[in-house]
Symmetry: C2
Subunit: 117 residues, 2 copies
């Protein structure tokens, strides 16, 4: 069993990071695109603010989970990110951990009143 120690703040931060990493699974993207895709794919549930997204990108890059390279699309610069091997490993590992926590959480929370539609 994965050790213990659950930290709400790490968990919350992890969700954002995992979403970004997950979004890069389908191919490399630049930041702005990640935000748009995540918002669309989640049906507007997850909306990344610029002030939230870029620091996360920098953090992930600093940790070597993603790799960014500048690209010039005409005169406009874009920083295109792609998953590293480490990032892919982190994504699957942390996803498993999230599920562990979620299932632990659901065990303690009351069962949802099975209200049909």
């Amino acid at each position: 069993m994965t050790e213990k120690g659950f930290d709400v703040q790490d968990f919350a931060r992890g969700i954002h990071e995992l979403l970004v990493l997950s979004s890069l699974q389908t191919g490399e993207k630049h930041g702005y695109q990640i935000a748009l895709d995540l918002q669309a794919d989640s049906n507007d549930l997850f909306r990344f603010k610029h002030g939230t997204l870029y620091p996360i990108l920098h953090r992930l890059e600093g940790e070597g989970l993603i790799k960014g390279s500048w690209s010039k699309d005409g005169g406009r610069r874009k920083k295109v990110y792609s998953l590293t091997g480490k990032g892919r490993k982190h994504l699957s590992g942390e996803t498993g951990r999230v599920q562990e926590i979620v299932s632990g959480l659901m065990r303690l929370l009351p069962a949802p009143s099975e209200v049909p539609a």
Copy 2:
């Protein structure tokens, strides 16, 4: 459908509050007991620090979700909390919301590699 925004911080805070409320479902308890029960019931996954628990209790009481009353067990004082109707309602409502977010999250995250044991 509950649409609208998702806030990581509210979510994280909500988890703690929900766990406390859920623990009170089985009957009234005092703070210290809640922490012990939650830790035991979650198999050591969730551990509440004193500096975290008591502010939560005060917040929940201030919002009228729980009701506390002092009890003297010999000379040692305990503040025993119980769920209010409002608290019970909040618990089921927010639990539903958490599940909504969790399922949205799981849709975006990669499927767990079904690794046996």
